[in-house]
Structures are given as structure tokens and as C-alpha cells.
């Protein structure tokens, strides 16, 4: 389990404090898929970078409950997928090498490492592309490489920052279903940040709705939609519409009255 407790983050911008995260608390249970959704400009990326240990917190804790470990630096239990695939992959290395490099520190046996790379590429439907360069692939395929790299690392937690924001709608739907499949195979717990309400509801077991800056948690909503989910049937359910409206109402309230909270 991953616990975020009273997380705070204030940047120092030119000598002046800029409060981005005011008070964030939620938990992520093992095997759960949690999405964080909020208006654009909320400190969602800041939140994820704090959770992944990439950014020092100003207050509160992020804890891996099973081991009692406080996340102060990137722990081996967490892998990340970033929004901009064209910048997060290394264009000078082939796909196989991109996926395999982080494993040099976790798997010492070369053959076993190769197997992990192959398995990960297969699970995202990219078998046969290990010898291509990232820039030879489409945007959606590049993001699948980034997902394969994270999965091959065998993390307990997969943290994703708007991973499907820079691809077209059809590719986005495909990638959403891909990530649902992959997390089944890999058995990872997923935290995904998005500004897309449909995406947040469609993927999640629970949706954490956050406000605009300075960011607080507005509500955590259980998504009681049946699994496996499907782009056509799930999104056609009346319950999907209700949940969607519920989240949308919270977010529009968040962007309408920032002054009331400050």
C-alpha cells in the first residue's frame, strides 16, 4: 500500500514562496488502479514527482506501507511513465536497449535481462521492434516502449503522468485498454494522473479529485463499474454517466471558486 499523508509542496520562485500542494492525503491499495484528476494548472505533476521521490516535499509524508519505507528518493518499488514520450526515451539507443538499461542494476544475469526485455515488449505488443530506434515508431508505439521499460523494471507501483495526453483519440483509447491489460499481467498497482474526466473514470477503481492551486483533495470517488472494462460497453453504461457527472461537477466547482478555499 502507498500512503500519501498531508503532502505539501511550496516552491521558492525568485525569493517568493509559491504554494502548489496545500494538503494531499489518500491511499493506494495493493493491486488498485487509482487516477488523480483535476483542473489544468493543479499541481498534478508536482504531486507525482513528490510521490516518486523525484522532488523533495515541503511537508507531510509519502510511505510504502508494506515496508514502512518513507519515499525520500526514488525507491526501486516505483517506476514512472512520463507524459512526453519523445523526451523520455533515449533516441540514440534502440528500443531493446531503452527497455533494458534500467535493468542493469536490478537483474545481473544477461540472458535473464534479455528475457525480461522480450516479455515486456511482448506485453505491450511490440515484439519484433527491439532493433528499431524510437524515432522510427509512431507516438503511440513510443509510449508503449516507455510502458514496457517501466513494466520490465518489475515495480510494485507504476506512476504515470498524463501518459496518453500527446496522442490522437483512437491511439489514446487503445493505450487505455493496453494499460488495463498490462497491469493485470504484471500485477502492478497503478497511479495515473490525467485531466481527462472520461479517462479517469474509465480506468480507475477510485478517482482522487483534486482542486486547482494550491491543491487539496476535494473527494475520493469509488468507481463501481464492472471489469473488464470496454470502451464501448463501459462508457455506454448509465452508471458511467453518473460517475462522470459527479467528477465533472467537483472539478467545475474547483475551478469556479478558488478564492473560497484560499
Amino acid at each position: 500500500m502507498l500512503t500519501v499523508e498531508h503532502l505539501q509542496k511550496t516552491y521558492n520562485v525568485g525569493g517568493k514562496p509559491l504554494e502548489v500542494l496545500r494538503d494531499i492525503s489518500f491511499t493506494v491499495d495493493e493491486g488498485e488502479f487509482v487516477t488523480v484528476v483535476g483542473p489544468s494548472g493543479a499541481g498534478k505533476t508536482t504531486l507525482l514527482r513528490c510521490m516518486a521521490g523525484l522532488l523533495p516535499r515541503s511537508g507531510g509524508t509519502v510511505m510504502l506501507t508494506r515496508t514502512g519505507k518513507v519515499v525520500d528518493a526514488p525507491p526501486p518499488e516505483i517506476a514512472c511513465v512520463f507524459q512526453d514520450y519523445s523526451r523520455s526515451l533515449m533516441p540514440w539507443y534502440k528500443v531493446g536497449r531503452n527497455v533494458g538499461l534500467p535493468l542493469r542494476n536490478t537483474i545481473s544475469d544477461k540472458a535473464e535481462r534479455q528475457r525480461a526485455v522480450d516479455d515486456a515488449l511482448r506485453s505491450v505488443g511490440l515484439e519484433g521492434f527491439a532493433d528499431s530506434y524510437p524515432w522510427q515508431l509512431s507516438g503511440g508505439m513510443q509510449q508503449r516502449v516507455a510502458i514496457a521499460r517501466a513494466i520490465a523494471y518489475r515495480p510494485e507501483f507504476l506512476i504515470m503522468d498524463e501518459p496518453f495526453a500527446s496522442v490522437d483519440a483512437q491511439t489514446r483509447a487503445d493505450l487505455e485498454d493496453l494499460i488495463l491489460r498490462v497491469r493485470q499481467i504484471a500485477g502492478v498497482t497503478v497511479v495515473l494522473v490525467t485531466h481527462d474526466i472520461d479517462e479517469a473514470v474509465y480506468l480507475a477503481d477510485r478517482v482522487v479529485v483534486v482542486s486547482g492551486r494550491p491543491t487539496v483533495v476535494m473527494d475520493v470517488i469509488d468507481i463501481d463499474l464492472p471489469r473488464p472494462r470496454s470502451q464501448v460497453t463501459t462508457k455506454g453504461l448509465p452508471r458511467f454517466g453518473e460517475l462522470r457527472t459527479q467528477v465533472a461537477t467537483l472539478i467545475s466547482r474547483a475551478s469556479a471558486e478558488p478564492a473560497a478555499r484560499a
Partner: protein
Amino acid sequence: MTTTTSIVTAAGRKRWSSGARGVAISLIVPVVILVAWWFASEGSTSPFFPPLRTILSTFAETWLSDRVLSDIVPSLVRMIAGFAIAAVVGVVLGALLGRLRLAASALNPILQFGRALPATALIPVAIVLFGIGDTPKIVLIAFVSCFPILLNTIDGVRNIDPVLEDVMGSFRLTRLQRFRWVQLHAASPQVIAGMRVALSLAFVVMVATEMLGSTNGVGYVTLLAQQGFQIPLMWSGLILLGLLGLIVNGLFVLVERGLLRWYTQGQED
């Protein structure tokens, strides 16, 4: 897979055809100039502007004979040695200073001063310090051409994409892994751009050092020809230097294309 390969070959074909046409177009002007020169200078009696025919026959007699070993090779060896030293020192020192901001700030005035020194003014200094053999020439070529490589490497190693920094951090790469797998590659377009500038500097310094306190080299022969009133030889030396410059630069571009394929092709999409 099919789509990928077809994209690659299509891009390759486009580049090749535009390349062949580009070469043809770029040959027009030099050929026109040569032809015009040939006919305009034909029958010239001016000692300063001998007929192109005379220059070319002097060229064949002089430069395509034992002067290859006695002058052209020593020139090129000195240039390549100096450039190689500059490349190694520039990249290693640049990579270090790129990571150590404090040291870089401390050394910056010295670097800027060294870069600003005109190479030709340093020739007498080099002769005083190292005599008149190959050493002062190689040292000077290395010193002058080191700066663009050094400064570009510092800059390149420093400006790593913050997203890649996060990737390296979250996958817990060690310092050495970050350097070898990411920083060095990410900086390479800038490093190689610096090397290209350095190479033309090395060429200029090579010629300049041969014109003062030298006993061989293309620059030496060319200057001697002028002083000995062997004007066709002087002109032929000039043509040779131009051709050598073209060849050296052309070879460098080939190496550059191979090394930066990921960069140039990635930018096309």
C-alpha cells in the same frame, strides 16, 4: 514493421535524390569559374597571374610527386595530431566542468581569455616555448582548436532535458551510468558542432604555423614560392590547401552523419 521500414527507405531515397541533384547543382559554379579562368588566363604574360594551364602543370609536378611525403603528409599529421589532442582534452574537461558548476564558473574568465587570443599572435610564443620542430605547431593547433570543443561540451552536458533527468532518477541510474548512457549522447550534437568549428581552426593554424619557423609543410612551400617569385607554385599551393580543406571537412561530415543519425532523423518527424 512494414510501415517502419518503408518510412526509413522513403526518407533515405528522398535524401539520396536531393543529394545527387544537389551535387550536380553545386558543381556548376566551380566548373564555370574554372573554365572562365582557363580561357581568360590563356596567353597571359603577367607574372602574377600565370595561365591556369601553367598552374595546373606545376600542381601536378609539385604536389603529386615526392612532396606528398615531404610536405603534405607532415602538414596533415600535425593537424590531425593537434585536433585529436584538442578533441580528447575538450570532451573530457568539458564533461567534467559541465557537471561541476562551481569549477566551471571559477575557470570561465580564463577560458574566455584563452578563446579570445588570436592564434597567429601565439605562434612566436609557441616558438619561444617549444622551438621550431613539430611540437610547437601541434601544441598550438591543439590549444586553439580545444576551445570550441570544450565550451560546447560544457554547454551540451549541462542542458540535459529535465524529463530525461527524471527518467535517470526514477530508474536509479548511477552517476557513471548517467554520464555514459545519457549525458554523453545527449550532448553529442553540440560536441560535434564544436568539433567542426575546431577542425577549420586547426586547418588555419596548421597553415599559419608553417609560415613562421618551419622547414616543411604545404604552408611553408606556398610562402617560399611567393618569396622565391615562383608564382605558379604559389597559386598551386593555394589550390591544394583549398582542396585539402574540402576533403578534410567532407570526411568529417561523413563521420558526423553516422554518429548523429538518431539526431538528424529524429528531427525530421
